[in-house]
């Protein structure tokens, strides 16, 4: 099941030139031929379907998290959105354009950040990279200056603008990369593992920045990541992909509701020997005075469960935990659920 959820999509018509940020993938399939050595001489040829009949529509101004295990097809999808790869079957439209036929026009409207690979000029000061990109993307001087000033301010790039890129720390470089990707006012921004390896401070800064950009400039953002905190804090919508197919497409809350419909109440009892036998909840863990009580959100409310506990034992303190999105997604991958 893929691509059918109540998400408003802006369908782009051909030949319309205004900023159209819709991304449309229709029934896209991408295969790779992998040659593997078997034994000393022979090679065997296998066809790997990186992406299979994938359909996805992303509307203007959305911020979408695109997650999946390694090898699920995330990078392949992003590459097809940028025009690096072309699909074997199906169509891709970015801003109404086909990245395959109109690579240059498409790339003008797109900004990309690859977490692992740099797009900056390694030996030159950061400032020079920004300046060069102004030329490469043909940004008007005024606009470029204004953008740069804004980003320098938001991401605090000032202190190291004149440092050669090769001497920057990972956090600094990443902030530089994101700036570089946005200097030309792209309608769409793809980020491939942007917070990987960053320290907490840098991550926070990057997340705030992305939120601001999405909100103030209406940039459509597609974010692939393994860091589920990123997703939780940034994305209104979550697309989960595994083995080339979409497992889920909806909000984070929906993911939780569908795949992890339980919540956990953590209570600290007065008497550690007290036993809790509850009608609509289960004690899943017990440590000294603390009990973790799990209940299905459809079958009981937190208030009901608390009432049930208090009826049989005195409590000192309590809190409610939502299921860890990490666990949830892991369970999803394992189940390979398609529902």
């Amino acid at each position: 099941m893929s691509g059918e959820h109540g998400v408003r999509a802006t369908q782009a018509g051909h030949g319309v030139r205004a900023t159209q940020a819709a991304i449309v993938l229709e029934d896209v399939t991408k295969e790779f031929v992998v040659r593997r050595r078997v034994g000393r001489v022979r090679r065997e040829r296998t066809v790997v379907r990186a992406v299979e009949s994938l359909s996805l529509t992303i509307g203007e101004g959305e911020m979408v998290g695109y997650i999946g295990p390694n090898g699920a097809g995330k990078s392949t999808t992003i590459k097809m959105l940028t025009g690096i790869l072309v699909p074997a079957r199906g169509t891709v439209r970015v801003g109404g354009l086909d990245p395959q036929r109109h690579r240059i026009a498409t790339t003008r409207r797109v900004g990309v950040v690859f977490g692992q690979r740099s797009q900056l000029w390694w030996d030159l000061p950061l400032r020079d990279s920004f300046d060069l990109l102004r030329w490469v993307y043909r940004v008007a001087a005024e606009r470029h200056r204004a953008n740069l000033a804004a980003f320098v301010d938001l991401l605090d790039l000032g202190p190291f603008l004149d440092t050669p890129v090769r001497q920057l720390s990972l956090g600094q470089r990443m902030r530089g990369e994101i700036t570089a990707a946005l200097l030309h006012d792209p309608a769409m921004l793809y980020l491939d593992e942007p917070t990987i390896g960053l320290d907490v401070m840098s991550k926070a800064r990057v997340r705030d920045f992305l939120t601001a950009v999405n909100r103030d400039r209406g940039t459509t953002v597609v974010l692939t990541t393994h860091d589920l905190d990123d997703v939780e804090q940034l994305c209104s919508r979550l697309v989960v992909i595994d083995r080339g197919r979409i497992l889920h497409d909806g909000t984070v809350a929906e993911v939780r509701a569908r795949f992890a419909p339980y919540r956990t109440l953590v209570v600290d009892l007065v008497d550690e020997r007290a036993r809790l036998a509850l009608p609509n909840a289960v004690v899943v863990r017990s440590e000294g005075r603390r009990r973790w009580v799990r209940f299905h959100r459809d079958e009981a409310s937190a208030a009901q469960v608390v009432a049930a506990i208090v009826a049989v034992a005195d409590i000192v303190d309590l809190s409610v935990e939502e299921p860890d999105i990490e666990e949830v997604v892991r369970d999803m991958y394992l189940a390979g659920a398609t529902a």
């Binding site: 090769r166 001497q167 920057l168 720390s169």
Partner: protein, 249 residues
């Protein structure tokens, strides 16, 4: 160690093709020269052509153009971890290179020689003794070649980017080793100078052994150079370790 040099079949083919091509080109040039003389520098035409193909055959094996991985590691700073290993630095790299040598072996070498034999008449060693000497000469050539490349790579500790020196070293070795023109072609003065240099031990001497013109004496000379270069390499490495400059982010 073998595993690291399991290159694609394609690369081996490429090396063989290039070796064969250059063998032919150089051979043709030499043949044109020999239209005027019977012998040059005591080589006759068959010697010269044989020289060309045999040398082209084993050039990749002894890594004559190669940069040691060491160069990259010095440049990136990774070498710092190598220095902590409980292995003798030079021996480690020598062993790696010998592994490469053993792997690349004679597969590529056979092709240019075979192709050359089809188109020209070549002179092959007559006795098993000569083949044995040649085999040893090849190994010694590899060690000498390593010694030279090792020294050049170590320069990377003092200079940020030693690619220029690596290239230069490669050219020097080729020219004075006799790859472009056999050393025996050089005018007397230049040839005399070359005979004093280690480069001849890399190509010229082994091929002369192959042609049966030199015997154990050449091997001894190679061994002397090999030893000298290894000692120098050790000394330089020691100095380098005193002065570890880590480069990179």
């Amino acid at each position: 160690m073998f595993q690291r040099f399991s290159t694609y079949r394609g690369a081996t083919v490429a090396g063989a093709v290039i070796g064969t091509t250059f063998g032919f080109l150089r051979a043709y040039v030499l043949v044109a020269v020999y239209r005027h003389h019977e012998t040059i520098g005591s080589f006759d035409a068959v010697d010269a052509v044989t020289f060309t193909f045999v040398s082209q055959g084993f050039l990749p094996t002894i890594g004559i153009w190669g940069r040691l991985e060491l160069s990259d590691r010095i440049r990136s700073g990774d070498v710092a971890t190598d220095l902590y290993r409980p292995l003798h630095f030079q021996s480690y790299w020598l062993a790696q290179d010998l592994g490469r040598f053993a792997f690349e072996g004679l597969a590529r070498g056979m092709v240019p020689v075979a192709a050359g034999a089809l188109a020209f008449s070549l002179r092959f060693p007559t006795g098993r003794g000569t083949w044995a000497l040649f085999a040893i000469a090849l190994v010694l050539a590899e060690v000498v070649s390593f010694g030279l490349r090792y020294l050049v790579a170590l320069i990377g500790f003092w200079v940020l980017d030693n690619r220029g020196f690596v290239q230069f070293g490669g050219f020097l070795t080729q020219f004075f080793g006799g790859v472009i023109v056999p050393v025996s072609f050089f005018p007397a003065g230049l040839e005399g100078a070359c005979r004093l240099l280690p480069f001849q031990a890399v190509v010229q001497l082994p091929v002369e052994v192959f042609l049966g013109r030199q015997g154990a004496g050449a091997l001894a000379l190679q061994a002397v150079w090999a030893a000298a270069l290894l000692v120098a390499g050790n000394a330089l490495a020691a100095r380098a370790m005193h002065k570890v400059v880590v480069q990179g982010g």
